[in-house]
C-alpha cells in the first residue's frame, strides 16, 4: 500500500505541474491509487462527478504520468470511493465514549479533554512533575497535598493540571472537581463579598474532592482573597481533598503573599518544570504532528525544534508548516517546505538578560542563584560561578565591574581571574560541555 502511495505521490507531483492549481486542488487532491494489477491501475476519487471531469479533461495527462511512474503501459480505471487515511478519534465526552472507551460520559467545564497524561511528552525537564502528577491523580488527597507546580510559560503546567482533573474524573466520575484560575477565584470572592453571599461561595469551593487553581501568583497582593484561599485550603486539606496549584515561580518568590500561605503551599510537594530541552521539543513536535494527522520525519522535527523555545511556539510554527504543506497538497512536512518557510537563521546574538545566563548556568549545574551570588566559596560553587562570569563576559560583553555587581558584589579582579581561568580551560580542552548552556539558550542542539 505504501508503495502505491509513493507512486501516486510522484504521479500527482507531475500532474500538478501540468494543470491549474484550482483543478489540482479540487479534482486531484483527494485521489488515491488503490492497486496496480495485470496492467490495470485502479484510482479512487470521491465522487462520480469528479471522475467524469478527470476522464474527459485530464485522462491523457494522468495516463502519461502514471505509465511513467509505474513503468508499464497501464489501463486506468476510476472508482468512486472516499479514502480517508487515518480517522482521528475524538473519543472523549461523546455519546459513544461509553461504548468505545469505557470512559465516562460528560466533561469537566473549562478542562480540555485532550489534555491527558498519555499525550504528554516527558523528558528530564518535566519528569519529576509528571511523576508527581500521576501519583496525585492515582490517589488524590493521599500523597502530596498540595501539589505545587511551577515553571515558565509554555512548559505544560496547564496540560499537567488538566490531565490530573481528567484522570480523576475518568476514574470516578462522581468526584467533585473544580478547575479554576486564580483570576476566577478572585472574581468569585469579590462577587460573594459584594452580594453579601459568602456562604454560597464557600460551599462551591469547600465541598470538593479536587481543587485545581492555575496561575496562583495572581492572588499576590489581594489580602481578602488570600484569606479566603487560606481557609478554603485548610478545610480541603482537613477533609483529605486534593489541591493542585500552579504558578510561574516558586511560592517563596511570589511577592506580597502572606507567610501562612507560603508555608501552606510548601506543605506538600513543590516541583518545577523547566523549559523543554531539545529532545523534548522534538518529541512534542512528533506528538502534535500525529494529532494533526501529518507525517513528520525526525530530521525535520529536529530542524523545527531548533527554531522555537516553548511548546506554544512550537505548535504555532508547526501549524503554519502544516497549512503550507496542505496548500501544496502534501500529507507530509518535507524539508523543502521547511527550508522555503523558515527564515534564514540570523547569527547575530540575541539580547539576553544577564539573569537569563545566570539562571541557565544554575539549572545546568543544579545550584541556586542565591548560592551563586553568596560569598561562600565551596568547591561546588566555584566552577559554576566562573562559568557564569565567562558567559556574561563573552555573551553580554559586560565589564568586569558590572559582572562583579551581578554576582553578589565581587571585586573586578576576582572576575578577571575567573574569566581567564575558563578561557584557558577552553583553549586547553577545546569544546567544553558548559558551552552548551549558551547553545541551549539559543535553542541549538546540545551535543
Amino acid at each position: 500500500m505504501s508503495d502505491y502511495k509513493n507512486i501516486w505521490k510522484n504521479v500527482l507531483s507531475e500532474i500538478e505541474l501540468e494543470v491549474s492549481k484550482a483543478n489540482y486542488l479540487t479534482l486531484f487532491n483527494q485521489t488515491r491509487l488503490l492497486s496496480v494489477e495485470d496492467g490495470v491501475a485502479t484510482v479512487a476519487a470521491p465522487s462520480g462527478m469528479i471522475i467524469d471531469l478527470l476522464q474527459r479533461k485530464f485522462f491523457s495527462i494522468i495516463k502519461k504520468a502514471t505509465d511513467k511512474h509505474i513503468g508499464i503501459n497501464t489501463k486506468i480505471v476510476f472508482v468512486p470511493k472516499t479514502v480517508v487515511d487515518v480517522v482521528l478519534e475524538d473519543k472523549n465526552d461523546t455519546l459513544f465514549s461509553q461504548t468505545e472507551t469505557k470512559s465516562s460520559i460528560g466533561h469537566l467545564p473549562r478542562v480540555r479533554s485532550d489534555y491527558s497524561f498519555e499525550n504528554m511528552a516527558v523528558s528530564g525537564s518535566n519528569q519529576l512533575a509528571y511523576v508527581s502528577a500521576t501519583t496525585v491523580a492515582k490517589n488524590p488527597g493521599a500523597t502530596y497535598n498540595p501539589l505545587f507546580i511551577y515553571g515558565p510559560v509554555g512548559v505544560g503546567k496547564t496540560h499537567l493540571m488538566q490531565a490530573i482533573a481528567n484522570e480523576v474524573y475518568a476514574k470516578k466520575p462522581s468526584s467533585k472537581i473544580l478547575y479554576t484560575t486564580s483570576e476566577e477565584f478572585t472574581n468569585d470572592v469579590v462577587e460573594a463579598i459584594r452580594t453579601n453571599n459568602t456562604a454560597r461561595m464557600k460551599r462551591r469551593f469547600r465541598d470538593l474532592d479536587l481543587l485545581v487553581i492555575d496561575d496562583i501568583q495572581f492572588i499576590a497582593g489581594k489580602e481578602k482573597v488570600q484569606e479566603e484561599l487560606f481557609h478554603t485550603f485548610n478545610t480541603l486539606v482537613d477533609q483529605n481533598s486534593q489541591i493542585v496549584l500552579s504558578s510561574d515561580r516558586h511560592p517563596s518568590e511570589i511577592k506580597q503573599l502572606e507567610k501562612r500561605l507560603i508555608s501552606r503551599f510548601g506543605g506538600g510537594l513543590t516541583v518545577d518544570i523547566q523549559s523543554p530541552d531539545f529532545e523534548l521539543r522534538c518529541a512534542i513536535l512528533l506528538i502534535k504532528a500525529k494529532k494533526y494527522n501529518i507525517s513528520l520525519s525526525f530530521n525535520t522535527a529536529k530542524a523545527i525544534a531548533q527554531k522555537a523555545q516553548d511548546a506554544r511556539g512550537l505548535e504555532g510554527l508547526l501549524l503554519r508548516l502544516i497549512t503550507e504543506a496542505q496548500n501544496k497538497g502534501l500529507s507530509e512536512i518535507t524539508e523543502d517546505i521547511l527550508a522555503s518557510f523558515l527564515p534564514v537563521e540570523k547569527d547575530e546574538p540575541r539580547g539576553f538578560h544577564p539573569d537569563e545566563i545566570i539562571d541557565n548556568v544554575c539549572s545546568y549545574y543544579n545550584v541556586k542563584p542565591t548560592q551563586l551570588k553568596s560569598p561562600k566559596r565551596d568547591a561546588f560553587l566555584v566552577r559554576p560561578r566562573q562559568v557564569a562570569m565567562f558567559l556574561l563576559k563573552k555573551q553580554m560583553g559586560l565589564t568586569f565591574v558590572e559582572i562583579g555587581h551581578l554576582l553578589g558584589g565581587r571585586d573586578h579582579t576576582t572576575i578577571m581571574h575567573g574569566v581567564g581561568k575558563i578561557e584557558k580551560l577552553v583553549e586547553q580542552k577545546g569544546n567544553m560541555d558548559f558551552l552548551g548552556i549558551n547553545d541551549q539558550m539559543l535553542g541549538k542542539k546540545v551535543d
Binding site: P46, S47, L88, F96, I105
Partner: protein
C-alpha cells in the same frame, strides 16, 4: 440555443439549485449553472462536486443548445425581474437575455467543462411522499454533523428494520432515531449512509403530491433522489457508522411530560444567561414542574418553571442549550416526554404516543 420562458418559473428553480453552487469554489466552472435544452424543456444543473442538483423549467425551445453562466449574477438578475416573459439566446459565447424592458448579456463558459452529475441512476430502493420527508427525515437530518473528522457522522444512516427503514443521525453529542414504515427494496441488506446535506435538500422539493424516489448505484457509490424532473445527486458515504444500538437507553429512572412550546420558550429565556458559560442550561425535574435555569457568575442568572407530570424521582441534568433548541424546534408535536437516569447519562426526548422516534442528548457535567 433559443428558449422563451417565464422568469418566475425560472426563479423558483434556480434559487433551489443555488444550494448546490459552491460558495468557495476554486474551480470556476463550479460557480456556474449549466443550462441545456432537453425534451423540449430547459434543464438547469449545479454542482459543487459533493452534491449536484438539476431541475426542469417549463419553456418553449426554438433552438437546441447548452451553455453555462455565472450562477450568482444569473440568480441576482432573475430575482429582480418581476413576472416577465423572457427569451434566452446563445450567440457565440454570449448568452443574451431579453425581457419586456430588460436586455442583458452574460459571458459564458463552455458546457463541456461542466461535470456530468451521474452516469447511471441505479436502482430505486425507496419511494416516499412529500409528507414522509416532514414526518421522518427532518426529525433526523438535523442531528447529523456538519463538519467532522469522521465522515460517517456527516450522513444519515438507512438501515433495514423489522417494519421498515430505520433512520439514524448523530454528531456524537446528540442522536436522532426514527423508525419508519417505509419499505426498502429487497436485496439491500447492508445499511447505507447518505450525506446529511442531501437529506436536508429534500425539504426543498416543491411538488406536494409528487412521489420521491431514492435510486442507489452501489458500483458508482452514488445516490440520486428524484421528484418529477428534479434530481438531487450525492455520493454515498462508505465509512463505518458508529454502533448506535449500544447507547440506546433502556428504561429511565425519571420520566416527565412537558409541553414543547413551553419548554422551548423557557430554554430561550435561560439561554440569555447561558451565553457566557458555554450555553449551559440546567433542567431540574420535580414532581409537578420542571425548572429550567442558567447562571453565569459575572452576568446574572434566571430560572423558568414550567408545568410537568413526573413519574419517578426528582433529578437534575445540564445540557448545551443549542441542542435542546434544535430538537424542540424540529419537532412539531406539542406533547413530549423527557426521560433521564442520573445527570451523567444521555437525556432522551420522545413524542408522546409515538414509540418510533427518540432523540438523545449528551449532558454536560456541572458542579453542584
Amino acid at each position: 440555443m433559443l428558449v422563451s420562458l417565464l422568469s418566475d418559473n425560472l426563479l423558483e428553480k434556480i434559487s433551489f439549485l443555488n444550494h448546490a453552487v459552491s460558495s468557495r469554489a476554486t474551480l470556476p466552472i463550479l460557480s456556474n449553472f449549466l443550462l441545456e435544452t432537453k425534451r423540449g424543456k430547459l434543464v438547469i444543473s449545479a454542482t459543487d462536486l459533493e452534491i449536484g442538483i438539476s431541475a426542469e423549467v417549463p419553456a418553449s425551445v426554438e433552438k437546441e443548445g447548452k451553455t453555462t453562466v455565472l450562477a450568482k449574477n444569473f440568480l441576482d438578475l432573475i430575482t429582480n425581474i418581476k413576472d416577465q416573459k423572457i427569451k434566452l439566446e446563445l450567440e457565440e459565447n454570449v448568452l443574451k437575455l431579453k425581457g419586456d424592458k430588460v436586455r442583458a448579456s452574460f459571458q459564458t463558459m463552455s458546457a463541456d467543462e461542466f461535470p456530468k452529475l451521474y452516469e447511471q441512476k441505479g436502482d430505486v430502493i425507496l419511494t416516499l411522499e412529500k409528507k414522509d420527508v416532514e414526518k421522518f427525515f427532518q426529525r433526523v437530518s438535523f442531528a447529523a454533523a456538519v463538519d467532522s473528522s469522521r465522515p460517517s457522522l456527516l450522513g444519515v444512516l438507512f438501515e433495514k428494520g423489522k417494519e421498515g427503514v430505520v433512520l439514524v443521525a448523530t454528531d456524537q453529542y446528540r442522536l436522532s432515531y426514527q423508525k419508519t414504515p417505509l419499505k426498502l427494496k429487497e436485496g439491500l441488506e447492508k445499511p447505507i449512509v447518505v450525506p446529511g446535506r442531501v437529506i436536508k435538500e429534500l425539504s426543498f422539493l416543491k411538488e406536494d403530491d409528487g412521489k420521491i424516489s431514492f435510486c442507489v448505484s452501489k458500483e458508482n457509490n452514488q445516490v440520486v433522489i428524484t421528484q418529477a424532473e428534479t434530481e438531487i445527486v450525492g455520493r454515498l458515504i462508505d465509512a463505518d457508522y458508529p454502533q448506535y444500538e449500544k447507547i440506546m437507553p433502556e428504561d429511565a429512572d425519571t420520566k416527565t411530560e412537558i409541553d414543547r412550546e413551553e419548554l422551548l420558550n423557557a430554554i430561550r429565556i435561560c439561554s440569555v444567561f447561558a451565553r457566557e458559560t458555554a450555553n449551559i442550561v440546567k433542567l431540574s425535574v420535580e414532581k409537578d414542574k420542571l425548572v429550567v435555569s442558567a447562571n453565569s457568575p459575572q452576568v446574572g442568572e434566571d430560572l423558568v418553571e414550567i408545568a410537568a407530570k413526573t413519574i419517578g424521582e426528582g433529578n437534575e441534568i445540564a445540557f448545551n442549550a443549542k441542542y435542546l433548541i434544535d430538537v424542540l424546534t424540529t419537532l412539531e408535536e406539542e406533547e413530549l416526554i423527557f426521560e433521564m437516569t442520573g445527570p451523567l447519562n444521555p437525556g432522551v426526548f420522545k413524542v408522546k404516543g409515538d414509540n418510533n422516534f427518540l432523540h438523545l442528548i449528551m449532558p454536560i457535567r456541572i458542579q453542584g
